[in-house]
Assembly symmetry: C2
Homo-oligomer: 356 residues x 2
């Protein structure tokens, strides 16, 4: 899956073309230059890099895909990428997963990896993923890259819906700084090395899909926590919406609101900011029906505050590093979930000092 | 004009009802409590306050409208508002404009006023406005309130389109933190005190409308500059779009991008971030046609960089406190303009250090 930015970078265009066949064997990732806004020369440079990798690995060129993250408008340095390719190929090893996760970092505070073992007929397969992200405090290389690998044997045709569903509930359900990069890329690759092939539509396949979804959600949550100097991971659940789209709009507005995130940082059970975000989200809302709970404590019901004691209880829950926000719109049965963080930089201390 | 937030505060609901007649005579503004999320008691409190004002001024209650800004879910303090009303009425004077502009501030760094004199048949009328706003760094009371007064004699029916057009090109064309408050209110009031009535459809009326638009734009720009510890006012102009909606989407995406605003702060002519924002804006874009200029210096044409010398020139322009960003999509004839600021807090120093 690739960025929906209309100005997708040349490496994304090349990767998209090559993925169409459903078969690739190597992924080349570079940082510093996004190789975006580089026109035809950028495309040729991306292809030349893949050709070099293919030559060194002894595989067809079309099986190599390029991924770049970094500055837009800056050409890939021919000599640096050449040196990088040679050393990456020289260091290639089955134990290199961690090194790769380290190498793709740009301003990430920590490398992001997650894995699951999945029992299937005949044995066990592994799903392992790595990602890089970037939060508001580090937007200089804000591209999201994620690679999920499995040794199960699954065709591309079956991997695609698996990945789409998992991305929908992970990378598309987190709040970062909102800038969709020219280079965002999430790949799911199955090597078949285990020799185990979960049957189409089988329980094994559903288990594998669940593991892929879990790995991507774990990576996405790490990206949330790494962003913005965040210290809290907050699950935003909206229910009682008339439609799924309404639920999604409301959850997204809450998760993206600076005001809400600042309140999270200060452990301020400011349900009014949550309700305000729902109000401007575009979702169908009845002011007299909305209920808000934080950390499992109901703060507002029927659109008004319940009691000061509830605020004290909610505040205690908000002092932890992980809590939930639940909003019931009282309009229907649709629901949606998003993950977000507090806004935890120095500039926010001012805002979060506003206590209820 | 009032907030479009579905959870509009009780004072907004009351004000909207009273404005329907097209006649009001007094506006009561309070800070600290937004009187939002307060249900029926909130509505009754708002009405009671207006009744008190009406009694002291000796005017019908329906001619008083309430405006509140502050915390959601916090009831208006009966005793504080009572004291406030008595002292505000006692201090009422033709020279009180500045005091009122001061009094409606919450976290605004400075009071915001603007005015124009307009020559009309038979003499001169005045248009004077005051506003309070709040930027990203001060989101705790992020309500926008603005009041534009004129001594011209104009009916409400003719004032309404005048205000709508002016708001569209001012308050709706600035980038702040994106949280539409439950209490946003912009009023245009004509007293007729000058005894001068610009004829419907006359040049005088057009001049008056232009003055109203100028006053609102000046107030809106002050709100931009006051927000976020900003130090630069940036005019974003998009042209060559296929439709007006596309132009607006692209301009809005640029003006709201954290990455772009961080680059402004560092005087970094990072056209790639501007192009990236256009790319994800949803506007129809051709990667090979987009052109970007900053401070009058063309940095990219046909989707790729022009020359390093241009970046040096653009950087000099960006060191000033006011500059333009121009984007030509090369797809049509539609255009749009937005105003935004740099992101100038400490947290941004990190990002803006990323130099091209």
């Amino acid at each position: 899956m690739f960025t929906r930015n209309r100005l997708a970078a040349p490496p994304v265009v090349v990767a998209r073309e090559r993925l169409r066949s459903g078969r690739i064997q190597a992924v080349l990732v570079n940082t510093k230059s996004a190789n975006a806004g580089t026109g035809r020369p950028g495309r040729e440079r991306a292809i030349a890099c893949c050709r070099e990798v293919a030559g060194l690995l002894g595989i067809p060129e079309r099986l190599v895909v390029p991924c770049s993250t970094g500055k837009i408008g800056l050409p890939l340095s021919r000599s640096k990428i050449h040196r990088g390719i040679r050393s990456a190929v020289a260091e290639l090893s089955p134990a290199g997963f961690w090194n790769a996760a380290q190498a793709i970092r740009t301003t990430d505070a920590f490398p992001k990896i997650a894995s699951r073992r999945v029992r299937v007929r005949g044995g066990e397969v592994v799903v392992a993923g790595m990602a890089k992200g970037a939060g508001m405090i580090h937007p200089r290389m804000a591209t999201t890259l994620a690679y999920v690998l499995t040794d199960a044997s699954v065709t591309a045709r079956r991997l695609r819906p698996m990945l789409a569903a998992a991305v929908d509930r992970s990378f598309h359900a987190i709040s970062v700084d909102g800038d969709t990069s020219t280079n965002d890329t999430v790949l799911l690759l199955a090597s078949g090395a285990s020799g185990l092939a979960p049957g189409a539509g089988s329980t094994d396949e559903r288990r594998l899909a669940a593991a892929v979804a879990e790995v991507l959600l774990e990576l996405a949550q790490m990206i949330v926590v790494d962003g913005e100097g965040a210290s809290k991971l907050v699950e935003v659940r909206v229910r009682g919406a008339r439609t799924r789209a309404d639920a999604d709009r409301a959850a997204r507005a809450i998760a993206n609101s600076m005001l809400v995130k600042a309140a999270f940082h200060g452990a301020d059970p400011n349900w009014g900011r949550v309700a305000c975000a729902v109000g401007y989200s575009g979702a169908d809302v009845d002011p007299d029906r909305i209920a808000v709970a934080i950390g499992g404590v109901v703060l507002a019901r029927g659109g008004t505050a319940v009691a000061a004691a509830a605020e004290r209880k909610a505040r205690r829950a908000m002092l932890g590093s992980r809590f939930d926000v639940e909003v019931d719109l009282g309009r229907g049965r649709a629901a949606a979930t998003m993950w977000t963080s507090d806004l935890g930089t120095r500039y926010v201390r001012f805002n979060s000092a506003y206590s209820s």
